[in-house]
C-alpha cells in the first residue's frame, strides 16, 4: 500500500472517529435523560409538587425544595445583579489602565477558577458565623452571589465593550457627563448582553449544591421558608438526599425531581441563548 493511500485511510478513519466522538457525549446524555424520564416522569403530579418531604417515599414531595430554590434564586439575583453590573461598569468605563484595574482583572480570572465548595467554606465562616446570619437563605444567597459574580461581571464588560465609541462621542459632545452617558446610552444598549449573563448566572446557581450544603442548607426541611432568615433546602440538595437513600421509592423521587430541575435549567439556558442571538442581531450599527 502506498504511503498516500495509507494517509487517506487514516484521514477517513479519523473523520468517522471525530463524528463519533462529537456525538458520544450527547448520545450518553440522551441515554441518561431517557433513563430518568422512564424512572421519574410518572411520579410527577400535583401532589409531588406540593408535598413536604417525608420519611415515606410515596408521600414525599418537593415543595420545600423548589420554594427554597425560588427564594435563593430571587435573593441571589437581587444581590449579584447590581453588584456585578456595577463592578463591570467600573472596570470598563472608569478604571481602565490603572494598576487597580489590572489587579481586579487578574483577581476575577482567578476567582472564576476556584471550586464552588471553597465558596461554601467562605460563606460558612463569614456569613453564617461572623455576620451571624445562621444557616439561613440569606447566607446561602450571599455565598452564591459571590460565586456567580464573575459571570455577571464578564458579561457586563463584554456588552459594554460592544457599544460603539461614536455613540459615546456624540453624547459627550452634547455636554453629557460620564454618568449621564453611561445611564442614558451605554447601559440601555448593553442591557441585552447583561441580561443574558445574568440568566446564565442564575441557571448556574439553581444547580449548585456543594456550597449550600456547607453553608448549612439542610437535607430535611419539613416546612417552606417564609423569610430570608429561615433555614432551607434547595432542589439539588433534595435530589442528593434522595439519591443517598437506599429505598427504590426515593430513587424514583430523585428522578422526578431531576426532571423538574433539568426543565428549569434548560429553559433558562434556552432563554439566555435566545436573548444572546437577538441582541447580537441588533448590533448592526
Amino acid at each position: 500500500m502506498t504511503n498516500s493511500k495509507k494517509n487517506r485511510i487514516k484521514d477517513r478513519i479519523f473523520e468517522y472517529f471525530g463524528i463519533a466522538s462529537t456525538f458520544f457525549g450527547l448520545v450518553i446524555l440522551v441515554i441518561f435523560i431517557g433513563n430518568i424520564l422512564v424512572d421519574g416522569l410518572s411520579r410527577i403530579d400535583w401532589d409531588f409538587m406540593t408535598s413536604l418531604p417525608s420519611r415515606k417515599a410515596e408521600r414525599a414531595g418537593i415543595f420545600t425544595a423548589w420554594s427554597g430554590s425560588l427564594w435563593i434564586l430571587a435573593l441571589t439575583t437581587l444581590i449579584a445583579f447590581p453588584l456585578g453590573v456595577s463592578a463591570g461598569m467600573y472596570l470598563e468605563e472608569y478604571g481602565k489602565k490603572t494598576s487597580l484595574s489590572s489587579l481586579l482583572e487578574v483577581n476575577i480570572s482567578n476567582l472564576a477558577g476556584v471550586p464552588s465548595i471553597i465558596y461554601g467554606l467562605l460563606g460558612l465562616e463569614i456569613f453564617v458565623r461572623v455576620f451571624k446570619m445562621g444557616n439561613s437563605i440569606l447566607a446561602g444567597a450571599f455565598t452564591l452571589s459571590l460565586l456567580v459574580l464573575p459571570i455577571i461581571i464578564v458579561a457586563t464588560r463584554e456588552s459594554i465593550r460592544a457599544v460603539p465609541p461614536s455613540i459615546r462621542a456624540a453624547s459627550y459632545g452634547l455636554g453629557a457627563t460620564k454618568w449621564q452617558t453611561i445611564w442614558h446610552q451605554v447601559l440601555p444598549s448593553s442591557m441585552g448582553g447583561i441580561l443574558t449573563g445574568v440568566i446564565l448566572a442564575i441557571s448556574r446557581a439553581v444547580g449548585e449544591t456543594a456550597p449550600l450544603i456547607v453553608v448549612g442548607a439542610l437535607a430535611y426541611v419539613p416546612f417552606a421558608p417564609s423569610s430570608p432568615m429561615d433555614e432551607f433546602t434547595v432542589m439539588p440538595i433534595q435530589i442528593f438526599n434522595w439519591v443517598s437513600r437506599p429505598q427504590h421509592g426515593f430513587t424514583i423521587n430523585a428522578a422526578a425531581a431531576i426532571i423538574i430541575l433539568l426543565i428549569i435549567t434548560f429553559v433558562m439556558n434556552g432563554i439566555a441563548v435566545y436573548l444572546r442571538n437577538k441582541w447580537e442581531k441588533k448590533i448592526s450599527w
Binding site: N7, Y90, L111, G113, A210, I213, F240
Partner: protein
C-alpha cells in the same frame, strides 16, 4: 448635591462593587488560613502530609491528607483520560473537518453537557454507570472512582473541546493552506501542523479541565464513596477532598472542634492545588501568546 459630587459618589459606589471581588479573594484566603493555622496547632504538618490514614471522625483519629489527595487525583485522572482524547478529537474534527454550519449547530449542543447540574450527573453515575460497569467487571464495588471519573470526564468534554477548538481556530490560516498546498491530508495537517501550532491553547484547556475535575464535588460525593483510602485501584470506594467536606457539613460536627477545622485544612489543600493549576495556565497562555500577535 452638585453634579460634580454626584459623579464622584457614583464612581465611588461602582469602584466599591468592583473591590468586593478582591474582598472575596481576601476572605477566602483569610478563612482557609486562619482555620488551618488553628488546625495545625493541634495536628503537626508532618502528620498531615505523611500519615496514610484519614479518620478524623472515628474514635482513633488519623489526620493524614494523602488518602483524600489520592482519591481526588484518581478520579481526576480518570476524568481527564476520558475528556482529553474525546475533547481533542472533537476539537480537531470541528476545526479541521466539519463544515461551518455543522460546527455552528454542534458547538452549543456540546455546551449543554457543561450546563447540566452536577448532582444530576452524580445520579447517573450511581444509578446507571455503576450497575453497567458492575456487569462488565465482576467484583466492582457499588461506590468507586471509575464510574464517578468517567461521568466527570463526560461533563468536562466541552471544556477541552471548546478551548482547544478556539486555539486551533486562532492559528493563522496560512499554515493550514501551506500544508494542504503540499498535498497533505486533513489528518496530517491537523496533527502535524495545526495541533503543534495550537499546543499552548490546548495545554491550557487540559490544565483547566484538570482544575475543574479536582474541584468537582457532587459527582464524587454521590458515586465515589466515603472511605478515604490510599489506593490507585479505581474499583473500590474512596473519598475525595470535596466529598469529605460535604460529609462533615451534613453531620453534626460542633463549630470550633478539631473535626470542624479539618474541613478547612482539606479546603486549603484543595485551594492550593487549583490555585497553582490556574496560575500555571495563565502563565502558559501569557508566555506563548506572543506567537501569533
Amino acid at each position: 448635591m452638585t453634579r460634580r459630587n454626584k459623579e464622584k459618589l457614583i464612581e465611588w459606589l461602582l469602584k466599591s462593587s468592583a473591590v468586593v471581588t478582591i474582598l472575596t479573594t481576601a476572605g477566602i484566603i483569610w478563612v482557609l488560613l486562619s482555620e488551618s493555622y488553628s488546625f495545625f496547632q493541634e495536628v503537626s504538618l508532618l502528620d498531615f502530609l505523611t500519615d496514610t490514614e484519614w479518620t478524623p471522625l472515628f474514635a482513633i483519629k488519623h489526620f493524614g491528607i494523602m488518602p483524600l489527595i489520592t482519591g481526588t487525583l484518581l478520579t481526576t485522572f480518570i476524568a481527564v483520560s476520558v475528556a482529553l482524547p474525546l475533547g481533542l478529537t472533537i476539537a480537531v474534527y470541528l476545526s479541521e473537518y466539519a463544515p461551518k454550519r455543522f460546527r455552528k449547530i454542534v458547538k452549543p449542543m456540546l455546551e449543554v453537557l457543561a450546563a447540566v447540574p452536577t448532582v444530576v450527573y452524580g445520579f447517573f453515575a450511581l444509578m446507571v454507570v455503576t450497575p453497567f460497569l458492575q456487569k462488565l467487571i465482576p467484583g466492582m464495588a457499588g461506590f468507586d472512582a471509575l464510574s464517578a471519573g468517567i461521568v466527570m470526564g463526560i461533563m468536562i468534554i466541552p471544556f477541552v473541546s471548546s478551548l482547544s477548538e478556539d486555539a486551533l481556530q486562532a492559528v493563522p490560516k496560512s499554515l493550514r493552506n501551506a500544508s494542504y498546498g503540499l498535498g497533505s491530508t486533513r489528518f496530517q495537517t491537523a496533527f502535524k501542523v495545526m495541533v503543534p501550532a495550537a499546543s499552548s491553547g490546548i495545554i491550557v484547556s487540559v490544565i483547566l479541565a484538570f482544575s475543574r475535575a479536582i474541584g468537582e464535588t457532587m459527582i464524587v460525593a454521590i458515586a465515589a464513596g466515603q472511605q478515604p483510602r490510599l489506593t490507585a485501584n479505581p474499583l473500590v470506594p474512596i473519598e475525595t477532598i470535596t466529598a469529605y467536606i460535604v460529609q462533615v457539613s451534613l453531620g453534626d460536627v460542633p463549630h470550633g472542634s478539631l473535626e470542624y477545622k479539618t474541613i478547612f485544612a482539606a479546603g486549603m489543600t484543595l485551594f492550593v492545588f487549583t490555585f497553582i493549576l490556574n496560575n500555571i495556565s495563565f502563565w502558559v497562555r501569557k508566555k506563548f501568546r506572543e506567537q501569533y500577535d
